[in-house]
Amino acid sequence: MNTFRVPTMAEMIAEGKSPEVLFWVGCAGSFDDRAKSITKAIARILHHAKVSFAVLGSEESCTGDPAKRAGNEFLFQMQAAQNIAVLNGYGVKKIVTGCPHCFNIMKNEYPELGGDYSVQHHSQFIATLISEGKLTLADDHPYKGRRITFHDPCYLGRGNGEYDAPRSVIEALDAELVEMRNCKSKGLCCGAGGAQMFKEAEKGDKEINDKRTEDVIETSAKVVVTGCPFCNTMMTDGVKSAEKTESIDVKDLAEMIATAANILPE
């Protein structure tokens, strides 16, 4: 179970196969070391659940989300046109992604530009796999009964009204879910959205991720779960600056599921 090959779309097509699902990895998932382990967990979950999937590999390019939210509509639409040409070229119908920003922009903003796909966030996809019995978790895993809180990514929750899928995944882990004082539609941002990830914050009296970390600490949860690589970075930094790394883990949903299903390499 330790090694398997993640096929690219080009390879699949060359073999005359066309996968059901395209796994859109995203920039963070491709390049950021921490996010890469989330990507690997998602790939392993898809493989384990026998989902026919492929990635674009080097043919994938930024969706244009940070450019658009920073005001550069030209750059966004150029990126979108390029990605849509690739996706339509491969006849992609169904996309699953580990990044809520990619999810939102492909789901809501690509259709008008010619890219109409059924797009799912990995929490939604995993929730379905579990409910369909395609993914079974070990009887005994480290998250069973653990006190866990979920940080709603803005572009999954408020942006697209999805609050239940990630929670149903946590429920499947048989963990003790505790909500933060601001959760679901009232969830506080981690501070990375709107291209903030790529710049210094404006002058203020606190960092947004530190504020959000206070909400986490208040729940006395042992794990704060994210569904977004940027939230993950922000919460990891927040927990670090609060000197709570010993007591609070920052995990993506996919990592926890992969651990609980015993499919991660040692």
Binding site: K40, E73, Q77, S185, L188, A192, F198, E200, E202
Partner: protein, 448 residues
């Protein structure tokens, strides 16, 4: 007869000045860019019914929400009584509807309970603003006029309700003393459930004094209401009218969706089209043969807003729920979504006055919404988290305006923080916001 004339004059003046201001605001709204919101009518009516009529987003904060409903219901229903007051004023009658039968007494009684509700709610609101000093009402943009405006509204409503109840109290004394004109209103039994407690205030007055009090409160009330009518569209209180169209024209898309700019799409399509002639001149405008002026991207000044965004700015009642959930504001940054809305409105007031003073054509005053009203520091602090959009009780989107302002900063003025420029360059060069080679995008696969 003279009283009727004076009444007609005051009433006409009230309507005139109110209409004048409404016309000014609608001219300002019409200066905005076009946006087509004529679709999905049923959904729009439903949204308005739920959010504006049904106050669904107010009650997410129960204390303010329920008190607000007291004032709202009181305002709407007590205004039924205004119809009678106006007819009485014009015809010189007294309680013309009292012939309706015992239902009249029940109605007036109900109005009194509602008036009490309004009194209590406004009292609590004053306490929240001025004694408890809730943080939401005390940010910098609320200094001066906005705070005074709020207090004027609350005190006016208290005075009007007090006058309404006092008028009824004096009336009931007049009835008990069997004055001519007043005794006929026999259907008023049980009509004064609240004002009966005000009777002792006026019961020692002479007969003439009672009539003077009753007439005095009647006039105070109606003149107050008409003055308030004129005041409202100059004030944040204008939300009582604009909340309805503003929610009708709500954004019905997912709040995560940010519009694709059509003007940019045209250019990108041309760029991607291999048959495009790169040396072609712009196609002439059909009206006069002149080439169309290049579009201005995003929002730089007031008139770059869409008419809906300008409507939002006039609908905002400065409650500050947006600012109180804004992650940037919560962590001490300069950005306050409420201030952005107030700035848009204030700017449109200036632009509108300038336009009217210059024969209908706005003359450049050397100022812009971006820069002179909203600073770049504020604009760059937004995380686009949509908390402000979610929090607004009447579905205003400050975030939409903030992001449109970024569009003009970037696409008109090429102004961005250095690190944002680097991010753009990285995306252009290697398809990722970081400087990693595109070819290494799939490298994670090797060690998965």
């Amino acid at each position: 007869m003279i009283a009727q004339l004076i009444f007609a004059l005051i009433f006409g003046a009230g309507i005139f000045f109110f209409s004048k201001r409404i016309a000014f605001i609608s001219r300002n709204i019409n200066m905005g860019r076009d946006i087509d919101l004529t679709d999905r009518k049923i959904e729009r009516w439903k949204t308005m019914a739920r959010v504006a009529v049904g106050q669904s987003k107010m009650v997410t904060r129960p204390v303010a929400g329920i008190l607000h409903i007291l004032v709202y219901v009181g305002f709407v229903i007590i205004n039924l009584e205004m119809l009678e007051i106006v007819i009485d004023g014009l015809l010189g009658t007294h309680r013309i509807f009292s012939d309706l039968g015992s239902i009249y007494g029940v109605l007036i009684g109900a109005f009194e309970f509602l008036a009490l509700g309004v009194l209590v709610a406004c009292g609590v609101f004053l306490i929240r603003r001025n004694l408890i000093r809730l943080k939401r009402f005390k940010s910098k943009e609320m200094d001066g006029w906005p705070s005074l405006d709020a207090n004027i509204i609350l005190i006016t409503e208290i005075l009007l309700m007090f006058a309404f109840l006092s008028m009824n109290a004096a009336d009931s004394i007049a009835i008990s003393r069997e004055f001519e004109h007043y005794v006929g209103t026999a259907n008023l039994s049980g009509a004064f459930p609240i004002s009966q407690y005000l009777v002792p205030l006026y019961s020692r007055l002479s007969d003439a004094g009672v009539i003077f009090a009753e007439r005095g409160f009647w006039w105070f009330h109606i003149v107050g209401v008409l003055s308030f009518l004129v005041y409202v569209p100059y004030s944040k209180h204008f939300h009582i009218l604009l909340a309805f169209p503003n929610t009708y024209y709500s954004n019905l898309e997912e709040s995560g969706r940010l519009n694709n700019m059509a003007s940019v799409k045209k250019e990108v399509d041309l760029m991607m089209d291999p048959t495009t002639d790169p040396y072609a001149t712009a196609p002439p405008n059909t009206d006069n043969g002149e080439p169309e002026p290049p579009p201005c991207f995003g929002v730089k000044d007031g008139a770059d807003l869409t008419w809906k965004q300008i409507m939002e700015s006039y609908s905002c009642t400065e409650c500050g729920r947006c600012t109180s959930v804004c992650p940037a504001n919560l962590t001490g940054k300069a950005l306050s979504p409420r201030k952005v809305m107030m700035d848009c409105r204030d700017r449109m007031d200036v632009i509108g006055a300038n336009r009217d003073a210059n024969g209908g054509e706005y003359k450049d005053d050397g100022k812009n919404l971006v820069g002179d009203y909203v600073s770049e520091e504020e604009i760059w602090a937004c995380t686009s988290c949509q908390a402000c959009v979610d929090a607004c009780p009447i579905n205003i989107s400050p975030m939409g305006i903030i992001l449109d302002m970024r569009r003009s900063l970037i696409m008109e003025d090429s102004k961005s923080p250095d690190s944002i420029t680097t991010m753009f360059n990285n995306i252009e060069n290697n398809g990722a916001p970081w400087a990693f080679p595109a070819a290494s995008r799939g490298d994670w696969i090797k060690d998965s």
